[in-house]
């Protein structure tokens, strides 16, 4: 298995938010977590990334136990995380932000930059502009650009479509699929846009009060129709 969580428990100081969940993601698989406000979705991602220290359990990535690794180690190892908010450096220009995203990249980043600019042409247009002047949606594109530039093998995305106009949501999901197809990247996606998440993901985990209450194929869950009741 590409990535696996076993009996994974995370929380803040002494407060446990995620209670011993187990989860797995195959290579090149797109998996989504959906659930209530405050169900522990973001906390799960932060725990995998090493931003929060797991209280119990294991994270295994490519056969290696990475439990308790720092975010820096994880980024070098091929895991990237896009948080819900505050993911860019507003005082820096767009280009500088992208350069920072490529901090761990050792080879020439220009070709990688070109790919990002192809994905989000607006970033090229605005490359010299201070990123605090970007609109909400443009900031999110920049955030995505910053993490995609490292060519991660596992993408942890916390509501990437937040604040994006529908046209961009479609583009975004398409480009994520392209990235998966061309690089074999696995994607773990937290999405509040439930319908879209189910259409996009191969498998869906439903979380409630810090536990996984259901695991299902995306399309199957969509057909069930009664998924609304889960909330």
């Amino acid at each position: 298995m590409f990535m696996e969580l076993n009996d994974f428990e995370v929380g803040y100081s002494k407060k446990v938010i995620v209670h011993g969940i187990s989860m797995r993601i195959g290579e090149g698989e797109i998996v989504s977590i959906i659930g209530h406000n405050g169900a522990g979705k973001t906390t799960t991602l932060k725990g995998i990334m090493g931003i929060l220290r797991p209280l119990r359990g294991k994270v295994v990535f490519k056969g290696q136990d990475i439990t308790g690794h720092s975010p820096l180690e994880n980024v070098k190892n091929g895991i990237s995380f896009l948080p819900q908010d505050r993911f860019i450096f507003p005082e820096l220009s767009v280009k500088e932000n992208l350069d920072l995203g490529a901090y761990t990249v050792e080879d020439d980043i220009n070709s990688r930059l070109e790919i990002i600019y192809q994905l989000f042409p607006i970033l090229k247009e605005r490359s010299g502009q201070r990123s605090s002047t970007l609109s909400g949606g443009e900031r999110r594109m920049l955030g995505l650009g910053m993490i995609l530039i490292t060519r991660p093998q596992l993408l942890l995305l916390d509501e990437p479509s937040l604040g994006l106009a529908p046209v961009l949501v479609t583009t975004l999901l398409e480009s994520l699929r392209n990235i998966r197809d061309s690089f074999g990247t696995s994607i773990l996606l937290v999405e509040q846009n439930v319908r879209q998440a189910m259409e996009f993901a191969q498998r869906v985990y439903v979380m409630k009060m810090g536990s996984i209450i259901l695991e299902e194929k995306g399309e199957k869950l969509l057909q069930r129709g009664e998924w609304w009741d889960l909330f």
Partner: protein, 578 residues
């Protein structure tokens, strides 16, 4: 024994100064490194008046307070525009100016060596020259200053200070006049420090400028930080610890023989202790959020009828100086322009928000939707064009005034007061409060208490409406992202404004909450509120919006019902790419 009492007096005096500085640094987030200047102003004003004119120390103290308050207000005005490191430099500069003045005015102040022979404290003709006799007076003033500090910080006034610290723009959006509060807190902090200064000079029977240098200001800042920002007891504890430790270190072995440079060893040990404190108690000895644990909240629940009432526009607000209240389009915008360099962010936009209707602004990212909200609410200045609220022009008015006139907005990004309780967040938004006024706070406390009790009840009701009432007593920062967005909505409701501008509140919240949001805004509109939403969730726009403006590249390119707009192939091409 006198030595121990002497130490107690020093601890109490430094506690007062630390508390006064904590008002600025801990509660308001204004990093001042010039506070010793106010301490010194109090000491010199009171001491010199007694020395030259034989004035009683209480009158001298009063004079010191007045001078310090004026100086505090003067410093606060340039300080309004600067923050963080710039404010640090500005206050250091101020401290140096005062120090330089005291040193150079030799005839008046005694110059570098100060004045010896300041008359001792006295009360009803009794001379209080020994530490034991002075102690009761010092305790009395400590108690008064602590009580003032406590009242200021544990009240609606203190809540605004913390809100400004956590997010100044959000505080403005809720109608708080940042200018007024900054001037007040600087003046109050200066006045309290002057009280300690006055006692200090009479107790020591001398004043010298060297006691009020920038170094001293840094020591005062250390008291606040080590004790715990925004915790008054912390400041007292820090004064106790930081003043007694050096004294204890004087008993180190070897002090008499002079074999080791004992003063250097003392400084080193003292410094090491500071490092250890900061390493193991980074939030201070007594952190800010220690005191509310175990506080039990009980409120009368809100009845259904009352619930309708608190969601209706606040009638009293609507008539405050506004003409044309029968107008059916409360907000009218004509020919609005805003350019950033070459970028036309808003380009000749005119729009009307009809009463009781929900208007949506839709369009691609970067179309200028949020910029329009920022222009209406005074967060950005308008290049040209006019904005009228109920017939009154509000173009380029400051944000807090626009809020007072009955127009409130939410922010696209999460803007909450993170280091405050969820309940306190909503309370900040509850309009102008009696407890934010110093006169009412100190002289009509019953009114403040009554209003506060009612506001708490209302705030709980607003939290209940968005489904957060069970989390009222936790820190806003500990809420999940979606809950923080719901909290912003509760705050917006608590403003009771007639016109609400809602910027992407539902993005990132779960479908159940979206359902509730939609029925809530519909209800609000039915009850007479005027609502404008920016939204990318097309289902939400279709369900709730009566009218939509389609924006692209700063221009309104179409107006109509959401269904009409979304049936237009030209627009769907722009919006959906199909």
């Amino acid at each position: 024994m006198d030595y121990v009492i002497h130490l107690i007096i020093l601890v109490l005096l430094y506690s007062v100064v630390a508390i006064s500085l904590n008002l600025l640094v801990g509660f308001t987030g204004l990093l001042s490194v010039g506070h010793a200047a106010f301490f010194g102003i109090g000491a010199f004003a009171s001491g010199l008046l007694a020395y030259y004119h034989g004035v009683h120390f209480l009158i001298g103290m009063l004079a010191g307070i007045v001078i310090a308050i004026i100086a505090g207000a003067l410093v606060s005005i340039p300080a309004l525009r600067v923050k963080d490191e710039f404010l640090v430099l500005l206050t250091i500069g101020f401290n140096m100016v005062i120090f330089g003045f005291l040193v150079t005015q030799q005839d008046l102040t005694g110059g570098r060596w100060g004045k010896v022979g300041i008359p001792a404290l006295s009360f009803f003709g009794i001379n209080l020259a020994t530490p034991a006799k002075a102690l009761p007076i010092v305790i009395l003033f400590f108690a008064i200053c602590f009580a003032i500090g406590w009242r200021l910080t544990h009240s609606p006034f203190g809540r605004v200070l913390k809100a400004m610290r956590d997010d100044e723009n959000a505080a403005k959006a809720f109608g708080k006049n940042i200018f007024r509060f900054k001037v007040l807190v600087f003046s109050l902090g200066a006045g309290l420090a002057a009280i300690a200064g006055s006692l200090w000079s009479h107790y020591h029977a001398y004043v010298e400028p060297r006691a009020f240098t920038v170094n001293e200001s840094i020591f005062l800042l250390a008291l606040v930080v080590i004790g715990g920002s925004a915790n008054l007891w912390g400041s007292v504890l820090a004064a106790l610890v930081l003043i007694t430790i050096p004294e204890i270190l004087t008993f180190l072995p070897g002090a008499e023989t002079g074999e080791v440079p004992i003063s250097a060893v003392r400084i080193a040990i003292y410094g090491a202790l500071l490092v250890v404190f900061m390493r193991f108690r980074p939030k201070g000895l007594l952190p800010e959020h220690l005191s509310f644990r175990g506080r039990k909240l009980q409120y009368l629940p809100i009845t259904a009828e009352e619930k309708e009432n608190i969601l209706r526009p606040d009638e009293t607000k609507r008539y405050s100086g506004l003409s044309g209240e029968k107008n059916e389009t409360p907000l009218q915008i004509e020919g609005l322009y805003k350019h950033f360099g070459g970028l036309k962010a808003v380009d000749n936009v005119s729009l009307d928000l009809p009463k009781g209707r929900i208007t949506a602004l839709i369009g691609p990212n970067g179309a200028g939707k949020t910029t329009i909200f920022n222009l209406i609410t005074g967060f950005l200045s308008v290049d040209s064009g006019r904005i009228h609220l109920r017939g009154r022009e509000i173009t380029n008015q400051p944000p807090h005034r626009i809020n007072h006139l009955g127009l409130a907005r939410s922010f696209q990004e999460v803007r909450i007061f993170r280091n405050m309780l969820v309940l306190d967040n909503v309370l900040v938004a509850c309009g102008k409060q009696k407890g934010e006024n110093l006169g009412d706070l100190f002289f009509r406390p019953w009114r403040v208490a009554l209003e506060e009790k009612e506001n708490c009840r209302l705030a709980m009701a607003y939290l209940d409406i968005v489904g957060l009432s069970e989390k009222a007593e936790i820190l806003a920062n500990d809420l999940a992202f979606a809950e923080q967005k719901l909290l912003m909505l509760a705050c917006l409701l608590a403003t009771r404004a007639e016109v609400l501008l809602i910027d992407e509140v539902v993005s990132g919240i779960d479908p159940g909450s979206i359902e509730r949001f939609m029925s809530l805004v519909r209800q609000l509109a039915n009850w007479g509120k005027t609502i404008c939403i920016i939204e990318h969730n097309i289902d939400v726009v279709k369900t709730v919006a009566d009218l939509a403006y389609f924006l692209s590249e700063g221009k309104v390119i179409a107006v109509g019902t959401p269904d009409e707009l979304l049936a237009d192939p030209k627009l769907t091409k722009i919006y959906f790419g199909i």
